[in-house]
């Protein structure tokens, strides 16, 4: 086994030599560990080192193998094509479902994606709510930037809001889906060191009622709107600002 060469400067990157093509080999391929099995076909590198992560599947170059392995090769190629198709078609996969609702995962608000992740798995098992909630928390470094952005234009009606606050606040309600019989969970700060929640939040007669205590620390708070018997249906975000010295 060769070792990387040492040089005075940065060592040159060692590359596996391209093996020379020999006559086609059929049947079981001799001694394990041999390395001269022909160059891989162009464009079929399984690793995308740059931005080339969406490369279509190319021929895999297993023509030298016996027919039974060739069949296996075709089977796994079909599996890969199916996976790529599902991924591109935004079907039943998790990211696909989220992308279908929110667009490209790269281009959109990951906080919203994570919140949607909550809803998707809430359908499967209540335990996932905690897990997905922690994902949302872990992606929280993007939430501050999006809290004051306009609500997602999903076309889904939000409950009307009654807000009481002695400080300047911004609010935002994002609904995943139409829902009746809502209840609101306490709003939790996105600052992990700030454990004073906003508990005076409720839904009464279809109205979302939020009261911000006078001593509530400034910051951004999030909570879920939960439809009875059906799980999370939306989120509430409240951003509390410090009152300036002149009271503005």
């Amino acid at each position: 086994m060769k070792k990387p060469a040492n040089t005075a400067d940065a060592p040159a990157r060692l590359r596996r030599p391209e093996p020379e093509r020999t006559e086609p080999n059929r049947g079981i391929l001799g001694v394990f560990g041999q390395s001269s099995w022909g160059a891989p076909p162009q464009g079929s590198h399984p690793l995308g080192f740059d931005e080339d992560t969406g490369t279509p599947v190319e021929p895999t170059g297993h023509g030298f193998l016996d027919d039974s392995v060739q069949e296996a090769s075709e089977l796994v190629d079909a599996h890969i094509r199916q996976g790529l198709k599902e991924s591109a078609g935004a079907d039943e996969s998790l990211l696909g479902r989220m992308a279908a609702l929110y667009g490209s995962a790269q281009a959109n608000d990951l906080t919203a994606l994570a919140t949607q992740f909550t809803r998707v798995y809430a359908d499967m098992a209540t335990q996932w709510i905690d897990i997905a909630g922690s994902i949302r928390d872990q992606l929280g470094n993007l939430r501050g930037a999006t809290a004051s952005a306009p609500a997602a234009s999903t076309g889904i009606a939000s409950p009307s809001m009654v807000l009481r606050a002695s400080k300047p606040v911004e609010t935002r309600v994002d609904m995943f889906r139409a829902a009746g019989s809502l209840s609101a969970q306490p709003l939790t700060s996105e600052d992990a060191n700030q454990d004073l929640r906003i508990t005076t939040v409720s839904v009464e007669n279809g109205q979302l009622r939020i009261t911000i205590p006078a001593d509530q620390p400034a910051g951004t708070y999030h909570g879920l709107l939960v439809e009875k018997g059906a799980g999370p249906a939306g989120t509430v975000t409240v951003r509390v600002f410090e009152t300036s010295e002149d009271g503005s």
């Binding site: 590359r15 995308g48 069949e71």
Partner: protein, 346 residues
């Protein structure tokens, strides 16, 4: 290099296995209800498996420039999920032994074992989340997306096999079998560990193609599984499952599919009758007859040779997948893990 004289696999399995066990220990709490949940769910992970899956993950990460310790949490997640699925497999297969000891449901009863398996599966995502937290939202979502696909593929593969068992008259082809193995075995055993390892890599900035390692993982995992099936027919008490347990269960292995295609006349009728029986109704004489039939038609030898062919294809795919990576102890480990499959006897 003489691969028979230098063991390039076991030391790495030991080292990365120990790293994984240490990481797992942090996620297997010893709290109440200890006797009915946390002790049972920690049983399989502490029985000393081969640790192939987590080692593959750590080695791939290391090959792509990330220190092994940095991949330990992801490896722990993979091993925990693997053990959770083993608990469920043993219940579904009605197995008596796992790694030389009684299966969890034999020890504690099915309800407690089932619940422990559920809990371990759920808890397995926590170390992966803790690792994903360090990587930023983009890579974290890709890891979770891959996790979801791996879990889905594994469940679909298990469903295929359970469906065949529920419909013993169904004719299963070799391609059906390979598709089942691809889903049930290869995704968790090889494809996912490699993909996550490479995603943790620094030299490629965590970027991997959508099809990365699927071909390598398929050929490697299928070779491993078929050899595992062959070992089951040759096993004795050294082997952790019951000897010939697959025959008692009439599990659709490559050998069973092969022999079914070749038997004629009365032999075929006896085979069909055997398949329609429940496990408890099958006789030792019938199991011995079927084993002899497999040997006579060459089904076991053919399956073994086929697994070698798949291993050869796996080595070819290894060369493609790691062609831009310098040779290191880790890349040698991954390559030699393929052939190590055939040197093991359990």
């Amino acid at each position: 290099m003489n691969i028979n004289s230098i063991d390039t696999v076991t030391p790495v399995l030991d080292e990365y296995g120990a790293l994984t066990r240490k990481a797992m220990a942090e996620y297997l709490p010893k709290r109440e209800p200890l006797d009915y949940l946390y002790a049972p769910l920690a049983d399989y992970p502490t029985r000393g498996g081969k640790m192939m899956r987590p080692s593959l993950c750590i080695a791939t990460a290391s090959a792509f420039g990330t220190p092994p310790k940095e991949a330990a949490k992801a490896a722990a997640a993979i091993e925990m999920l693997h053990n959770a699925l083993l608990i469920h497999d043993d219940i579904e297969d009605e197995s008596d032994e796992r790694r030389g000891q009684q299966t969890l449901h034999k020890l504690h009863g099915t309800p407690i074992a089932l619940n422990a398996g559920d809990a371990l599966a759920m808890m397995s995502i926590k170390p992966m989340l803790d690792k994903a937290k360090e990587l930023g939202p983009h890579l974290a979502m890709h890891i979770l997306s891959d996790w979801e696909r791996m879990a889905r593929e594994s469940a679909e593969g298990q469903a295929m096999e359970l469906g065949w068992r529920a419909n013993p008259a169904k004719v299963v082809t070799r391609n059906d079998y390979l598709e089942m193995v691809l889903k049930k075995t290869c995704w968790l055993a090889a494809i996912f560990p490699c993909r996550i390892g490479a995603t943790l890599g620094t030299s490629n900035k965590g970027l991997i193609a959508p099809d990365a390692f699927i071909r390598f993982g398929f050929f490697f995992g299928a070779a491993f599984q078929i050899h595992d099936d062959v070992l089951n027919l040759k096993g004795d008490k050294v082997y952790g499952k019951e000897s010939c347990g697959d025959l008692w269960e009439a599990k659709r292995t490559l050998m069973l599919i092969d022999v079914a295609e070749r038997l004629k006349g009365d032999d075929k009728k006896r085979y069909d009758a055997f398949m329609m029986q429940s496990r408890d109704d099958r006789s030792e004489a019938d199991v011995a007859w079927l084993l002899d039939a497999m040997n006579e038609v060459g089904a076991i030898d053919r399956a073994f040779q086929y697994s070698q062919s798949l291993a050869s294809a796996a080595i070819h795919e290894f060369s493609r997948a790691f062609k831009d990576i310098p040779d290191t102890r880790d890349t040698v480990f991954i390559r030699d893990l393929i052939t190590w499959t055939f040197r093991r006897d359990h």
